[in-house]
């Protein structure tokens, strides 16, 4: 009986393959939270991905085939991410997947792609371990790539900004209780230790907490001169609002999530001045960026002409171009060939964040290095360059600093 079903399935599969012709579309999975507290990142990422795919399809697609996006809402939940991963692999049979906003969801889901030998392209999630989850020697080949500024870049930058540039020797850490917050807190503590500083207070909060008085009072009483944060928009807004309530005004410096629309909108005037590392700021200082921003605003019409999460949109956009370049070079959509091509990209790919000139090697799957990240600041309801010099510097062509990534991986 069982045998007969297998035969039947086999015959069906053969029949399908026989019907397939060269112009079959290439399926790309897109997984991210399009609803909930992380949605400003997820939706912006998805829109960036859509924009890139549409442009590529208009100019003839990849290998003469159109890109088809299979979009799924993982709701920032690990278990949803796992279900989606299995659906994308087994039912949709995608050639690759892009996305993952939440570190926890990425860590839970990408093992399935690793096992199926399908490339995963993280374009937003920043947990340092993401690209190291399947390291040699246990795994000869790693199928996880990323073009986002990971936490071991961000945490030292945050510390550099607060401790060195601003000269605050007493800082407090406020991190949420998720994987993201707690891994980030560890990175922050490590980076602080490297500067010989210990946080005067290290506090935790939960998603959906409505009162931050205890955490903030502890930091204030410990004499903190700045608050370093690791959390997402809504709760970060509660921190800024709680500080206003206590009449305590110290700078907030934190991970890149301080640029989320739901932080900026919910904190309003209280959130102004917060600083965070950014790979991309909505500022048309190169022709490529101008074209991207104009196309995005024209197509998706965000409120007040402000991309909800410009970083996510830009990285999402670039991830599709990188993937397309790899598929073209591999002349195939087979996972192992695409992976090999990504690790050895022959032609530079011009993205909006930077020009990706050999962004990956076999042992280094992180495209972004510290030299590509600048400081953004919340001002009048949007994120601007914290240092005017960066505005000029980023207008120049930028490339990955391979020496820095070698040092970081040590």
């Amino acid at each position: 009986m069982n045998h007969r079903i297998k035969l039947l399935v086999g015959a069906l599969a053969l029949a399908c393959m026989g019907n397939a012709h060269a112009a079959d579309p290439i399926k790309i999975g897109v997984s991210g939270p399009y609803t909930g507290g992380s949605s400003s990142m997820g939706v912006s990422m998805r829109d960036g991905v859509r924009l890139a795919a549409e442009e590529i399809n208009k100019s003839g697609g990849v290998l003469g085939r159109q890109l088809v996006l299979i979009e799924r809402d993982d709701e920032a939940k690990n278990e949803r991410g796992v279900q989606i991963a299995q659906e994308l692999i087994n039912k949709e049979q995608v050639a690759a997947v892009v996305g993952y906003i939440n570190t926890g969801v990425a860590l839970a889901s990408q093992r399935f792609f690793q096992d199926a030998k399908i490339p995963v392209f993280n374009n937003v999630a920043t947990g340092s371990v993401i690209t190291h989850q399947f390291k040699a020697p246990e795994n000869p080949d790693n199928y996880v790539f990323r073009n986002a500024a990971h936490d071991s870049i961000q945490a030292p930058m945050i510390v550099e900004e607060a401790v060195v540039r601003s000269g605050f020797k007493k800082v407090a850490i406020l991190a949420d209780s998720t994987n993201y917050g707690q891994l980030g807190r560890e990175d922050l503590e490590k980076a602080l230790a490297a500067k010989g500083v210990k946080a005067v207070a290290t506090e935790k909060f939960n998603i959906k907490d409505v009162d931050m008085t205890a955490q903030l009072l502890k930091s204030k009483e410990a004499g903190a001169q700045a608050v370093l944060t690791y959390g997402i928009g809504p709760e970060l807004a509660q921190i800024a609002n709680g500080m206003a309530k206590l009449g305590w005004k110290v700078p907030i410096v934190g991970s890149w999530t301080l640029s989320m629309a739901n932080y900026i909108d919910n904190a309003g005037a209280n959130g102004s001045g917060a600083r965070m590392p950014q790979t991309f700021i909505q500022e048309p200082n190169t022709p490529k960026r101008k074209a991207f921003i104009d196309a995005y605003l024209a197509k998706f019409k965000p409120k007040n002409n402000r991309i909800d999460s410009p970083v996510s949109a830009a990285q999402g956009y670039d991830s599709i171009y990188l993937l397309a370049a790899a598929i073209t070079q591999a002349n195939s959509t087979e996972g192992p060939k695409v992976r090999a091509a990504l690790e050895d990209l022959q032609k530079p790919v011009e993205g909006v964040v930077m020009t990706y000139d050999k962004p990956f090697t076999h042992d280094d799957h992180d495209a972004i290095t510290a030299n590509l990240v600048v400081f953004g600041e919340v001002k009048d309801g949007r994120v601007v360059y914290a240092y005017p010099d960066d505005l000029k510097a980023t207008a120049q062509p930028r490339k990955k600093d391979s020496a820095a990534s070698a040092a970081a991986s040590k």
Partner: protein, 290 residues
């Protein structure tokens, strides 16, 4: 001064819990059942309020409209979820039924308003006021005053009006009240309507302090349930005291112990109350004949 600040914040937080817990207590009194969708009633109230404010309705004018909405919503919950369970004398049917309705309401809200958290414009100045050396937001004072005023109004209604007397009679002995010609079914529907009304009122009251979104009710509803158990499901004073205890316990433990254990003392208290005074701190111990 730090303690004072913690207590202020604890009071504001506690009154949020208390006003929701008050709703649990209202329905329990008349029918011995609870609306486990109380958190969702709060969320719906806040979101409807937000939509109204977005349409240009004044905040103070919006409150009575939301209250009417809550009233109707509560009546619907009773008719759909609780009435059949009471009729069939099902011991626990109403538990699942009210939870199910709560989930449905949340899903509807997610589809109507999206799942993102939205800011609620504050009707009062957002600058804090200093009282005895610690800061309080005007909105927090409004929550405390508003919650107390509403509970007082409901209590007055129960004690003074003829409808209120029917309410009290039903809560004392439903069968006897029924024999005296009181339409106890209607009274129970009314108690549910009133409990949802208080929840949606709480929703618009606290929304400028918290963020507004489809998931805002879940945590608050649960904490309020703990408050109702601690204070006693049969006592109006109990929920206020229970709310204050839980709110202040959360802020002070957060500060003096660790913010990682912020939620623990309230729950330990809950366990202690259940172990030593199961009817709650202010509850009347009733002997249930089996």
């Amino acid at each position: 001064m730090i303690l004072l600040q913690l207590i202020y914040s604890g009071i504001a937080l506690g009154m949020i819990y208390a006003v929701i817990a008050f709703g649990y207590q209202l329905t329990f009194a008349t029918s011995g059942t609870l609306n486990f969708g109380q958190g969702e009633a709060l969320m719906l109230g806040a979101l409807v309020g937000l939509t109204l404010v977005g349409l240009g309705v004044n905040y103070w004018l919006m409150i009575p409209i939301v209250c009417v909405f809550g009233f109707i919503q509560g009546a619907v919950v009773e008719r759909i979820a609780v009435r059949p369970a009471i009729k069939t004398r099902s011991e626990f049917g109403w538990i699942m039924a009210t939870i199910a309705l709560g989930i449905i309401f949340r899903n509807v809200a997610e589809n109507v308003w999206g799942r993102d958290d939205l800011p609620f414009p504050s009707p009062l100045p957002v600058a804090p006021v200093q009282i005895a050396g610690a800061n309080v937001l005007p909105m927090e004072m409004l929550v405390v005053v508003g919650a107390l005023a509403m509970m007082l109004l409901v209590e007055l209604f129960n004690r003074k009006s003829i409808h209120g007397k029917a309410f009290v009679a039903t809560s004392n002995d439903r069968d006897a009240a029924g024999l005296m010609g009181i339409n106890t079914g209607l009274v129970i529907t009314f108690s549910y309507a009133l409990s949802s009304l208080t929840a949606s009122f709480a929703g618009v009251l606290i929304a400028p302090l918290t963020l507004t979104g489809a998931t805002m009710g879940a945590v608050l509803g649960l904490k309020a349930f703990a408050v109702a158990i601690i204070g006693g499901l049969s006592s109006g004073t109990g929920v206020v005291v229970g709310g204050l205890i839980l709110g202040i316990a959360e802020t002070t433990t957060g500060f003096y112990l660790s913010t990682g254990y912020k939620d623990v003392p309230g729950l330990v208290l809950l366990l202690l109350v259940l172990a030593f005074k199961p009817a709650g701190l202010f509850g009347k111990t009733a002997i249930k004949k089996v």
